[in-house]
C-alpha cells in the first residue's frame, strides 16, 4: 500500500506500508537541485525495501519538492527538525518496526547529526554524505557558472544577489542556510551515534576516498564504494541497481 500525505511542518511524504514490517526506513533526500535528480533513485530504493518486506517514508525537506515552506528562509536546524518529524511519523505508522534511516548527500549528513541525538534509530545508511558544506556551496556555484558559459543563458553568469538571498543555481540561498552549510564539516564534528552505521561512496572510484574513510573510522562504521554514476547530479536516468544491491 502506498500513501502520499502531509505531516509535520507541511512536509510531503510517501509512505509505503508493509503489514508486519520489521523495519521502517526513513529516506532523507539531498539538497535542492540534487533532490530533483535523485528523486527517482530514492523511489526505487523505497520500492526495493517494500519488495523485501520493509516499510518506508520518503519525504521532502521544507522548501523542497512538494513540501511547503520558503526555501530562502530555511536553516539546517529546520531540516533536522523535519527529519526528526519524519522519524516520528514512521514510528507512529509502524510502531512495532525498528527504525532505520538512509540519507543521500546532504540528507546523509543531516541523518548522521539527527541519529546521533536519538537512541531509537537502529540502522543508518549514509550515501555519499557531504563532508564539507563550504566545499559543496563552492561546487554548486561552479556548476551554475559552467552551465551559464556553456548555454549562454542571458544574464545567468551574473550572480543574482539581494539583501536576503543569493541565487544558487536557481535556488534562493538564504544567509542563514548558507552560513549553516559553510559550518558543516562532518570530519570535525563530534558524533555519538548508536545506530549500526554504513557509509556508501557512490561514483567512479572503486577505492573509498580518504574523507569517507576518516569518517568511517571516527564513527566505527563500515564503508564501501559502489561504482556507478552519481545519480544526484544527472539529468538523464541512471539505474541505481548497483546501489540497491548493496543496501
Amino acid at each position: 500500500m502506498i500513501e502520499a500525505f502531509f505531516f509535520g511542518a507541511d512536509l510531503f511524504g510517501v509512505w509505503r506500508a508493509v503489514p508486519g514490517a520489521r523495519t521502517a526506513w526513513v529516506l532523507a533526500p539531498p539538497f535542492a537541485e540534487e533532490e530533483k535528480s535523485a528523486r527517482r533513485a530514492l523511489t526505487e530504493i523505497a520500492l526495493s525495501f517494500q519488495s523485501r518486506g520493509e516499510a518506508s517514508l520518503l519525504f521532502s525537506f521544507r522548501g523542497q519538492g512538494d513540501s511547503g515552506g520558503d526555501f530562502s528562509q530555511v536553516s539546517l536546524d529546520d531540516w533536522q527538525n523535519d527529519l526528526n518529524s519524519a522519524i516520528e511519523e514512521a514510528r507512529r505508522r509502524a510502531p512495532d518496526a525498528q527504525t532505520a534511516v538512509v540519507g543521500a548527500r546532504l540528507g546523509a549528513s543531516l541523518s548522521l547529526r539527527v541519529a546521533s541525538k536519538r537512541d531509537d534509530v537502529a540502522k543508518l545508511v549514509l550515501i555519499e554524505p557531504l563532508l564539507s558544506g563550504r566545499s559543496f556551496v563552492g561546487q554548486q556555484l561552479m556548476r551554475q557558472k559552467i552551465r551559464a558559459q556553456m548555454t549562454g543563458e542571458p544574464g545567468a553568469e551574473v550572480e543574482m544577489r539581494s539583501a536576503e538571498y543569493e541565487d544558487l543555481d536557481g535556488w534562493p540561498l538564504g544567509a542563514r542556510l548558507k552560513s549553516d552549510l559553510q559550518a558543516l564539516d562532518l570530519n570535525r564534528e563530534v558524533f555519538d551515534c548508536k545506530a549500526q552505521t554504513r557509509i556508501v561512496q557512490v561514483g567512479p572510484k572503486a577505492e573509498v576516498g580518504p574523507g569517507l574513510r576518516a569518517l568511517s573510522d571516527k564513527l566505527n562504521a563500515s564503508v564501501e564504494a559502489v561504482v556507478m554514476p552519481p545519480f544526484w547530479n544527472l539529468l538523464d536516468y541512471s539505474s541505481p541497481a548497483p546501489l540497491i544491491e548493496r543496501l
Partner: protein, 80 residues
C-alpha cells in the same frame, strides 16, 4: 607531459563512464562534441580536476574554453 595527458584522459573516461579507452581520446579532440560533454558532465570533470590534480578553481577563474580538449586541460593544470 604525456603522462599528464594520459592521466587526464583516464580521469575523463572514469568520471564520465565513457565506453572508450583513454588512449582513444585525441589530445586535440573536441571533447564536448565527441563525447557529448554537457554542463553536468563538465561539472564532473571539474570536480575530478580538484580531487585528482589538486586544481581548485574559484568561481571567477572558470572558463569553459580551458576544457575543450585534453591539451587545454593539461595547460590549465600546468598553469596552476
Amino acid at each position: 607531459m604525456e603522462d599528464l595527458k594520459l592521466r587526464i584522459k583516464q580521469m575523463i573516461v572514469e568520471r564520465l563512464f565513457l565506453n572508450v579507452s583513454p588512449n582513444q581520446i585525441g589530445d586535440d579532440e573536441p571533447l564536448m562534441e565527441a563525447y557529448n560533454v554537457d554542463s553536468v558532465a563538465l561539472f564532473e570533470v571539474v570536480i575530478g580536476l580538484e580531487e585528482e590534480f589538486g586544481v581548485s578553481m574559484e568561481d571567477s577563474d572558470f572558463n569553459v574554453d580551458s576544457f575543450r580538449t585534453v591539451n587545454s586541460i593539461a595547460g590549465l593544470i600546468q598553469d596552476t
